[in-house]
Amino acid sequence: MTQLNINKVKFLEKQLKKLEPTFAKGGKLEKLHYVYDALATFAFTPATTTSRGAHIRDGVDLKRTMFIVVLALIPALIFGMFNTGHWHFVAESGNWNLPYWDNVLDKFIYGAIKVLPMIVVSYGVGLGVEFIFCNIKGHPIHEGFLVSGMLIPLVMPVEVPLWMVAVATAFAVLIGKEVFGGTGMNIVNIALTARAFLFFAYPTKMSGDTVWMGGQEADGFSGATFLGDAQSLLSDSPAVNGVDGIMAKYSFMDSFMGMIPGSIGETSALACLIGAVLLIATGVGSLRIMLSFVIGGLAFGALFNAIGVNDYMNVPAYMHLVVGGFAFGAVFMATDPVTAAQTAHGKIWYGFFGGGIAILIRVLNPAYPEGVMLSILFMNIMAPLIDHYVIQANINRRLKRLKVA
């Protein structure tokens, strides 16, 4: 936590202290008290201490947890910006095999120009809704949105209009979170709600060939993703030549590195892996869920390989792990501590079926190319039920032990 101490600039602290009475009870801006509170405690550890009730003492508080997750997202974000820029230049030149590591700075700047406004909109709208809500309802502002606000742009295709990002963020914060009472109370992941909302509301802007590459200009240039191309295997006129054709177009290594078109933050399995290491090392993310998610995906992938009725089923199981949003979902979405299963056993089932259903939707559902987001959403819904039965089983086991004894 030492890095945060850098923030402890005395001047800022003094200024905040000076402003405090304005927001205190009876002050001029009393109504905005919670906004002040949120900003002040974001910068400094609050001076108040808890006065009653049982507490677990732990150095990690919510704000620090959120900060670590955002930190873990940085590699994916940086790489995402660069990758977006790359595919923009590919689309412009019409040359699929444009050298990847040329003009690095140009690509990065182009990507940043595309991506930063989305982040600004996502944070602006999300925090705006939250601030308004907290002031009406009179409850303190939580920091939960710090992570969601970063996740939302990262799971979007680059060409999605900003107003759609705004609408989706507002919907997700309001219906996904505020109606349940704010941070920590929601049952579905906020960022996934935003993405699912856009996906169902504006499908043409969320899938298809024209949304993955920034400022597509070349006429008739198909900017499909791996999943988009693989989807065409389900019909009798695939865009590329069978499974082999797809594997040649997107090699495993390229996909692992993230050098393929896709949503901004999700293409690079490597960047997600770096994030995962950080999350696991700090104990913020659940290793149990990540592992069982990957195993579930591999198991279902292998199962479909064995069945192999249509071409899509023959896509190698390991390939599923590095394309689309699988890695991103496993590391950042499925592990959301609020919406995942809470029990140790429950987490294993939750992860396994989350990964498995993701592959199932990809391979069997021609309507939705990307299954990961929907499968995690589905498991969010099922998590309380899983927990319920895990707890019931525990109770029963203990009762039995009691009887034997």
Binding site: W163, I175, V179, F197, F200, A201, Y202, P203, T204, K205
Partner: protein
Amino acid sequence: MSEVAEKVKAPAEPLFSKKNRKLVSDPLSDNNPITIQVLGICSALAITVQVEQAVVMSAAVFFVLALGNVVISLLRNLIPGRIRIIVQLVVVASLVIIVNQVLMAFLPDVSAKLSVFVGLIITNCIIMGRFEAFAMGNKPWPSFMDAVGNATGYAIILIIVAVVRELLGSGSLYGIPILGSPIPVEGYPNGTGLFDMGYMNNNLMVLPPMALIVVGIIIWIQRSRNKNLIESH
């Protein structure tokens, strides 16, 4: 005995007495069948994609409920208690068959869109609920007023939901384009009106989940304005 009863009998109530008016006005908001009594949701939500369907559905429910309430009320002293549920079911089912046949004959296009949901009026809990709770114990005229109130309360919610969903989901109201047309024409590749400016229809509005969320928000607004309606849990 009878003489005494004659004397105590209150003067004939006017048709639109305060009590009768209350029968109509109560279910409109404070005792709304959908948002408060939680009845009749089954068939209500699926057909609210377009205003036209919602209007026809409301009219059908109004017809079945009003006539049914009156019939049950007229028969209330004749119906054997042991089979009263069956009798009520028979009355509803017959009335619904009439509605369905009439719709098929005179409004075939709407009838096709409503598909099985006309038949499901039979199990619309509002109707059986009103029969059992009101018509079995009251005279025909109050029963009719009660039906008017409940059917209107049902219609209001249905039509509000349908307006929201059709406007945001299809950009039109009652089939008339309001926000422009999303169909590309010469010179306007994205459609006309708002669509030309980059606006798009929200497909989620047309899909089932959104109907539930819209009703949830209506309940939220309604109960925020009237705190008495808030549930403890």
